[in-house]
Subunit: 430 residues, 2 copies
Amino acid sequence: MSKELKIAIAGLGTVGTGLIKLINDNADLLKARSGADIRITAVCARDKNKDRGVDLSGYEWFDDASEMAVKADADVFVELIGGTQGIALEATRAALAAGRDVVTANKAMLAFHGTALARLAEDNGCTIGFEAAVAGGIPIVKAMREGLAGNRIERVYGILNGTCNYILSTMEETGRSFEDVLAEAQAEGYAEADPAFDIGGIDAAHKLSLLASLAFGTEVDFGAVSVEGIERIEAGDIAYAREFGYRIKLVGAAQQTTHGIEQRVHPCLVPQSSVIGSVGGVFNAVIVEGDAVGQANFVGRGAGDGPTASAVAADIIDLAKGLRQPVFSVPANSLKPSNPSPMSDHEGAYYLRLQVLDQPGVMAGITVILGEAEVSIDSIIQRSRAPGEPVPIVILTHETREGVMMDAVAQLGKHPAMQEPPRLIRIENF
Amino acid sequence: MSKELKIAIAGLGTVGTGLIKLINDNADLLKARSGADIRITAVCARDKNKDRGVDLSGYEWFDDASEMAVKADADVFVELIGGTQGIALEATRAALAAGRDVVTANKAMLAFHGTALARLAEDNGCTIGFEAAVAGGIPIVKAMREGLAGNRIERVYGILNGTCNYILSTMEETGRSFEDVLAEAQAEGYAEADPAFDIGGIDAAHKLSLLASLAFGTEVDFGAVSVEGIERIEAGDIAYAREFGYRIKLVGAAQQTTHGIEQRVHPCLVPQSSVIGSVGGVFNAVIVEGDAVGQANFVGRGAGDGPTASAVAADIIDLAKGLRQPVFSVPANSLKPSNPSPMSDHEGAYYLRLQVLDQPGVMAGITVILGEAEVSIDSIIQRSRAPGEPVPIVILTHETREGVMMDAVAQLGKHPAMQEPPRLIRIENF
């Protein structure tokens, strides 16, 4: 007597077709490891006739995902449509309401509706697997929910968007501008035609909000994430950072502070030799700090059909084994409020680039403003330019409260020698 | 109505007491994440009266681990005694035979008896958690058994012994000798008084044999691991390796080859910039290569009370949640034979250091021997010395079959100018 787990897949883009290939190619392994026949029974996508390079003839076709979610002969509804709401959300709700487990790669949907969907799942005796929603092939959801479950998590941070990491790595290697490298990344398929979600930090923030929930047992609260993208990073900033022994990365971090839980995504100077500083290209990295384990680091491909299908398959295999558990580690009804700590209370060091007219007393004026605000200077670079040209002054500060720093920056912006708004980037000495 | 999971702990060294502290300190978290009260009911160690800094008065005391394994009021038997056989094995068998789940950090026992114990567990409807047996706090067992279960694993390798990594890192940083650094590591508690298991590669081989079973669905076969330790690594080898852009690490690797499955632990030149090359000190690293995920890297503390207790706690939480599954990913009776591939069939590049008398024709003699064996040379370093002194010649080869290389080395050893046996170290361009 062989168990069977029947799967309906909604969305047949590269991940959906990658999943079909994986389930077919590795059928023997999946059966050995899950103890069940994992069988695709139904699929759904916008265009039935598109050639996707996989044979769909053995699967029941649905035009409507919500209809498939309830009517397909399936135990699990795999949602690979994407999007915060609309069809994906509607079909996911329908599947859960019908008591069917859901596996999804949709971080945007979970960032906004994660807590409510987890409640719906648990009310209906089912669950949602979302390993593929965070850091692609890295099994970080499982690591946090299970592998490190004995730990009080103090901080989780990482590189959560491969597109940004590719752009920043390439800018550093080549010295080229953000616009240039972005255009190339789009041409090579590393960045979307509409890259706003990636380069604006939104995609990383979606993922971070899920990691924060797992880490701290709190409701998913995308609105609590402070988000800044990489659009304003200049080649010059990367070069200065390098002089100080840093690289600029788009970092997502969630941590417990005395003021609450801080969730933030922003460009950040990190030491070149740190784990995060040494992860280049399209790779993702997640670092978890727990009271017992110390630091555990996870690095791998954060996107692509193979890695994402690997993560979806892991969730499916768990379900085939009957391993079913609360979506965000603890039951949805016992998730606590996210208790956000305002960024004005963030404590950290800062990189400050000022473009000033080179005239007598400017440096004194700047340092007096910082001194009066009690912002302590760690290092300064100022290089001479042709007389009359604006000159960049780059300052690294010691740790200070962000509210204090922002006030000082506002003061600096009013200084008569200032040629453009001061540029502030956070530093983390991970 | 609250569920309860009762735990009996055998062995109260640093890990055992660390586990008691973790379970007490993080009781709220463990309950929230497992849905159960995880309660220690019994403990057992050699000396009841030793002060361990934890209060044992609430737990039933046993002098005999095997007696505790069957008589304690417990659902789970936690084995932290250690040792390949003797008390640990006897008590583990007793617990499993009594239908109790076992959680263990004992790689030595599992390396020799893993398959048999897995069968015994499954015959009695229970399981063995051994997250703590491999790479300490890194949740690699869970990652391989579950998180990457959709992948056909091609290779798993890493740094599996923190003591060796600490010694080799320190030798590189300081230029000091192996003996010197080992003595210091012993004084600082990074190496055991009897370091043979660590520096001889045995401990890493125990862990590798478990990873290989998880990766390939094969019986645990410690005897199939080719093992070489770091005792013969000289400061000079580390310096030469560095000149070529490499570091020397003790590497454990298991991979599928056309001849079978290769399992090996040995010192190895690895690129400085590789993940494995950049992991220093007491850290462990495991890299898993799968057909879907590509490469997934895991880095963390491989030993110590906190990380090990973190791993033991994860297994306990799984049991409290009712997540019970085959020990080595697939049912013990369907594990395949380990199908070892002999090291003579290993394909790889080599570092060769020859100590020769500097006399006319020596280099010709050496290169002719290598040429006749069809071993192709990648690079050579030879530096002049005072006339009459032995001079080191260091050669890196291209990839070749190990059997061929060993024959060539035997020929080289017979060359009249050779002052000591040739030194051969494998290279991996990870």
